[in-house]
């Protein structure tokens, strides 16, 4: 499917969800839906670096918080509309993502993961000691009650996060099906072989850290308006780091659809648990599901689905490939010749 058609379908689905939430006539659905959509963006962003490139980032909360605190800083200087704040948050977090990528160029595996964790700790310490954005006391943003033509402000925030989620998914899908996506996959599989095949691994890693960081920052930018009172412990919450890893792992990391499924499934479960049991069980749910999936379906729900339809490679094959293989070597191909991209 062409990317413009995909984007259109995403927008239509997003519009339908928005209309459905309005039809339910209760603003709580917008509050809960906002969180789920925020996780869709975070997990999709995490997956660009962690899933496509195989670099596990434990510092998602830091990028998210950077977006949120850039909103606080700009709001104090000169209040601006949220779409502009999204861009600022994205730029700040993207620049930090680029810097993190540059400083950790030669770190891999656990060493890279620890470096990202260290980044989160360093940034949280900086924010706690930066009075301009509230420091350890936190900062308030008084959210308007209503905004035309959406009615309540939470509907407006929900719509913005919905558009951001659509944008993040479209970007992830575009990457996945592009030359860049192939390059990311080679980094995940074998960097040495990738370099030997002409792939500029360091440059691609920088691109991945920048895009991933920018999207996480954009997810964080409207957060102060959502929560009204931002403090370091809420912006740098462990929930963001854990969920943004767990959701793609549960959904499946090799495709854009994995983080989406994981975020919708886990995010909704958490929201239901929050109102029916307690918000304290959120991470318990994540833990149980993660352990279960690691044991039963290490490739996530998408992997289970592939296994179900049959054992087939995840690679892309276009029309020429299909035709020629079918014509030249009938019966020699192990699986169906059409299917999802890597």
């Amino acid at each position: 499917m062409r990317s413009d058609r995909f984007l259109l379908i995403c927008l239509l689905v997003g519009g339908a969800v928005f209309a459905g939430a309005i039809a339910l006539g209760n603003d709580y659905y917008f509050f809960a839906g906002y969180v789920v959509l925020q996780y869709v963006v975070l997990s999709t962003a995490w997956n660009i670096l962690g899933g496509y490139c195989g670099y596990v980032n434990f510092g998602s909360a830091a990028f998210f918080a950077l977006g949120a605190y850039s909103t606080i800083a700009i709001h104090k200087l000169y209040p601006m509309p949220i779409p502009v704040l999204l861009i600022f948050g994205g730029v700040v977090s993207g620049v930090v993502g680029f810097a993190m990528g540059y400083l950790t160029l030669r770190l891999r595996g656990a060493f890279f993961a620890i470096a990202t964790l260290a980044l989160a700790v360093v940034l949280q310490t900086l924010i706690v000691n930066w009075d301009f954005v509230g420091g350890s006391r936190g900062a308030y943003i008084v959210r308007p009650e209503a905004i035309a033509p959406f009615g309540s402000y939470i509907r407006y925030l929900f719509l913005i996060m919905m558009l951001l989620a659509v944008g993040a998914i479209t970007v992830a899908r575009l990457i996945e099906r592009s030359r860049l996506g192939y390059g990311f996959a080679t980094i995940r599989d074998d960097e040495l072989a990738a370099e030997a095949s002409g792939v500029p691994t360091l440059r691609l890693k920088l691109i991945a850290t920048t895009i991933s960081g920018a999207l996480m920052g954009m997810a964080g930018a409207p957060f102060p308006y959502y929560i009204s009172f931002l403090q370091p412990s809420s912006a740098f919450s462990l929930d963001y780091a854990v969920n943004s890893i767990a959701m793609p792992l549960i959904g499946g990391t090799t495709s854009w659809v994995g983080p989406l499924i994981g975020a919708v499934l886990l995010g909704s479960l958490q929201q239901i648990a929050t109102v029916t049991i307690s918000s304290a069980v959120n991470l318990l749910i994540v833990g149980f599901l993660l352990v279960g999936f690691v044991m039963v379906a290490p490739n996530g729900i998408v992997g289970l689905f592939h296994k179900y339809i049959q054992h087939r490679p995840v690679g892309q094959v276009g029309q020429v490939g299909r035709r020629r293989i079918a014509a030249d070597a009938p019966g020699s191909v192990s699986g169906p010749v059409s299917g999802p991209a890597p």
Partner: protein, 243 residues
């Protein structure tokens, strides 16, 4: 004649261990050079230094008239220097077709040769057909046998359209007939104008393939010349052939 590859007084250390010492080597375009030596003699280190995986501390490497020192591995590949690995390193999550697609996307296109997606795919299938893997184009590398894995490595190296291919023990662990298959592929590639450096322990294969033989022992080059003369060299016999 201008040399395609010129290695000049190359040196490499790992801490206190001298892996390569003053290695000089020149390879002409179209030549088939065998590189032999006992385990630990520095063959793979030399390949890694030439290909940019490791950086040499002394000496220089020129390829096709360009000084390669300081350039990264992918830049060297784009200049036309391809390699296979001693232990096959396929891209495990990509099907064979995509494994071969990568060098076409990142090496050949980087040289300015823009191709449409169907053209690239057609070329990938041609390469897989050349090594006899077209029928498995959509399978993952984990489904391949050892010899097929070696063939995939060769196909991927060929996809980069190299001027020089360094085949690092491409026949290790293969049966006699499989060795003949790989040798046939390398000869065909050489027939297409690709210069080849063959690193191998299987002497019959090296002797039948190489126009020139280079011998490394303990990081030093001890012989370089016509294969039949080199194997009669007393120092080579003592150090490598054990006679």
């Amino acid at each position: 004649m201008t040399q395609l590859l010129e290695v000049d007084n190359l040196g490499k250390r790992f801490g206190g261990f001298v892996a390569l010492e003053n290695i000089s080597l020149a390879v002409r375009p179209g030549e088939c050079v065998g590189l032999i030596g006992p385990n630990g003699s520095g063959k793979s280190t030399l390949v890694n230094c030439i290909c940019g995986t490791l950086h040499n501390e002394a000496g220089s490497v020129h390829f096709d008239g360009h000084l390669l020192d300081g350039s990264t591995a992918h830049q060297r590949t784009r200049r036309g220097l391809a390699r296979t690995f001693q232990l096959p390193r396929p891209f495990a999550s990509l099907c064979l077709l995509d494994n071969v697609r990568i060098p076409l996307l990142y090496t050949v296109e980087a040289r300015g040769a823009r191709r449409s997606a169907p053209d690239i795919e057609a070329r990938c299938l041609d390469l897989l057909r050349e090594v006899g893997l077209e029928g498995k184009a959509l399978q993952l590398p984990r489904d391949l046998t050892q010899v097929e894995m070696r063939k995939l490595e060769l196909a991927r190296a060929m996809a980069a359209e190299p001027k020089l291919l360094i085949a690092d023990e491409s026949m290790a662990g293969l049966t006699h007939s499989e060795v003949e298959e790989i040798l046939g592929l390398l000869k065909r590639l050489n027939g297409q104008g690709v210069t080849i450096i063959l690193i191998e322990h299987i002497m019959s294969a090296v002797m039948s393939f190489s126009q020139r033989l280079v011998v490394l022992v303990s990081g030093r080059k001890i012989a370089d010349g016509e294969p039949n003369e080199v194997v009669r060299n007393p120092e080579v016999e003592r150090a490598y052939l054990g006679q």
